[in-house]
């Protein structure tokens, strides 16, 4: 148990946002902020580095999004479905590929401005981006 405790403390030290921020500023890298609006109304803001995908941001920050990113960004699951504002959708540099659209076709609550989170790569101009994370459940009765 004491080893577990020790592990927990060291882990929490290493994961702590302050430490991360400190470490990355020493690398002179600017962090990009992204907000996730969950279906239950929660809003979660997290930071990532340039070149990270939205899925990376969620994984690196240990955000608890049920079932998100099951295929780990390999474009085979559509559990990383997110919805953007029209404006943000249009301003993304990369348009969705056929393969991404194919996977999106299987997603619940599909919209015209839906994308897969693992395919959206952060860059400086996306700082402050807000995305909607639709419910993974397709039936309102259970929500």
């Amino acid at each position: 148990m004491s080893i577990k405790l020790f592990k927990y403390i060291t882990n929490s030290c290493l994961n702590s946002r302050t430490v991360m921020r400190f470490m990355s500023t020493t690398n002179n890298e600017k962090l990009i902020r992204v907000s996730f609006n969950k279906a239950n109304g929660d809003k979660i803001t997290a930071e990532g580095k340039k070149g990270d995908s939205l899925l990376d941001v969620i994984v690196n920050n240990n955000l608890d999004f049920d079932g998100f990113g099951a295929c780990e960004g390999t474009l085979t699951c559509s559990t990383c479905h997110i919805i953007l504002d029209q404006k943000d959708y249009d301003s993304l540099p990369e348009k969705p590929s056929d393969e991404e659209l194919d996977m999106l076709d299987l997603a619940y609550n599909l919209t015209d401005t839906s994308r897969l989170g693992c395919q959206i790569i952060l860059e400086d101009k996306l700082d402050g981006l807000e995305v909607k994370v639709p419910a993974t459940v397709n039936d309102a009765r259970y929500n």
Binding site: D64, L75, D105
Partner: protein
């Protein structure tokens, strides 16, 4: 006492605030250390002599000891306050809520994951017929789709939870009964999938080289029970009855270059057999039309991209479809557009992949081995296929049936809907995944379904429906041990 300790571990693991609590603790001790050293240095300087004034040193250390003890005492009271709060908040923890899940496919694992999260401290035991977990993700998903299998990492994370137990080699209906599970667990979750493949029930189905796609898939994926099936790939033309993703999986494996498959973790014996395959043409036969196909666009696109394979549609079958594409809703629209575009291509390659619509198999032809298949021509009334008198036959040396799966009632006590071959929900006994929703949909839909059921269980728990005291695995493990051939060592984690 044990549960209190568990509770502590749980608090430490999960509560962010406690992280800060430890930070404060560490910080406080650091300052204590700093100030004590400073103080002794200060005293040394003040008295200028180290040796003669040891009583002062002693008294300072005793004073500091007292201070730190006092501090520790305060911490203890803080800890008790925390404990009280968490006990109240997570009193579920102490109650010992036991859940028994049967089947360790995606449905079982996603349900376990969600239960462990929403009912903190509940104990989840998963029983599996096979020695190894993950169900169709291991033995169904095609080996050339390793990315899909990444979800195993998520499942493994769930399995590493202290409150999760995996019990392999235990079959419901053979080693244990539903009644025994009911006696041991507050909630029983049936997640044993839909393993039986549906039959065509036409003459000739037992001819050799008429193969069930399920078995073929088990064969190339290394499922122990399907290791020795007979399939002769010394055939020019293979017909697959069915137009879903499973049918496409079989077609793709038959038409893929073996060197590509060698890079996957497909079984050696299958690679061996496939490397000697003579199959040049695969035809996918479906009862209905292009608008009703069950396969998804991703799998079709993969077929279209296979090297050395040209995709063809039978004459006139795609003619009128162009006009209606623009009116279709999105997922269908993109699929039909892709099919239409493919049907317009005329290039000729080494191998063929054909799609034939509006045909119902009426008999498999041949004396001992498959020689062909006789089909009835259908027309559509709305979404339904209606057989006409017109007949049509195809010559083939190999044929598969891939018309879907069916769940079975593995224990007579299971409330089983014979019409739909599914198990409905009941407080105390739940069903998830293909067993509950029917054998359709991808892992995403199974996940969504498992989450729904988990939240239902959570709701029933909150309403106090499942509050009886249950022995959990203690009881079952005794039963399993007394069973012939079962011993504790078989129970792997």
């Amino acid at each position: 006492m044990k549960s209190i300790i568990n509770l502590f571990i749980f608090c430490w693991k999960t509560k962010q605030e406690l992280g800060f609590y430890f930070w404060r603790l560490a910080l406080a001790f650091f300052f204590l250390f700093l100030s004590s050293s400073l103080l002794s240095i200060f005293i040394d300087i003040l008295l200028m002599n180290r040796r003669t004034h040891w009583p002062i040193h002693c008294s300072v250390s005793i004073f500091l000891l007292f201070v730190s003890l006092n501090f520790d005492f305060k911490l203890k009271t803080m800890r008790w306050k925390y404990l009280n709060r968490t006990i109240r908040k997570y009193s579920k923890n102490v109650n010992g809520f036991h859940v028994g899940i049967v089947g360790s496919g995606p449905a079982g694992f996603y349900c376990a994951q969600q239960l462990l999260k929403t009912i903190p401290g509940c104990q989840v035991d998963v029983f599996e017929k096979l020695p190894v977990p993950f169900g169709l993700v291991r033995y169904g998903v095609a080996p050339d789709h390793p990315e899909v299998k990444n979800v195993i990492n998520t499942f493994t994370k769930t399995a590493s939870n202290d409150h999760f137990r995996f019990i392999g080699n235990v079959t419901l209906g053979r080693d244990i009964t539903l009644a025994q599970l009911k006696q041991s667990y507050n909630a029983v979750v049936l997640a044993y999938g839909a393993e039986e493949d549906r039959k065509l029930n036409i003459p000739g189905e037992d001819l050799s080289n008429f193969v069930s796609a399920t078995k073929f898939i088990g064969w190339y994926n290394g499922l122990p029970t399907d290791k020795n099936i007979e399939v002769d790939l010394n055939a020019n033309h293979a017909v697959i009855v069915g137009q879903g993703n499973v049918a496409l999986d079989v077609a793709r494996i038959l038409l893929s270059p073996v060197d590509k498959l060698r890079k996957t973790d497909m079984t050696e014996y299958s690679l061996d057999t496939l490397s000697k395959s003579k199959v040049k043409k695969v035809t996918l036969v479906g009862r209905r039309g292009p608008l009703q196909v069950a396969f998804t666009i991703k799998e079709l696109r993969e077929m279209l991209k296979l090297p050395e394979v040209s995709t063809k549609f039978y004459k006139d079958q795609m003619n009128d479809i162009e006009k209606i594409i623009s009116d279709l809703p999105r997922p269908k629209k993109r699929l039909i557009q892709l099919m239409y575009d493919a049907s317009q291509k005329t290039e000729v390659r080494d191998k063929y992949f054909d799609i034939l619509f509006l045909r119902t198999p009426i008999s498999i032809l041949g004396t001992s081995k498959v020689e062909g298949i006789e089909l009835a021509v259908n027309h559509l009334e709305g979404d339904k296929a209606v057989i006409t008198d017109e007949k049509y036959s195809l010559n083939c040396e190999l044929a598969f049936r891939s018309i879907g799966y069916r769940s079975v009632q593995v224990d007579p006590d299971i409330i089983f809907d014979k019409h739909t071959s599914t198990v409905p929900q009941n407080p105390g006994i739940y069903s998830v995944g293909w067993l509950s929703s029917g054998p359709v949909g991808v892992i995403l839909s199974t996940m969504s379904h498992a989450y729904q059921v988990a939240s239902m269980i959570n709701k029933h728990f909150d309403e106090g429906l499942l509050k009886d005291q249950k022995p959990g695995y203690d009881y079952i493990s005794k039963l399993l041990k007394t069973k012939a051939g079962m011993d504790g060592t078989k129970l792997t984690k």
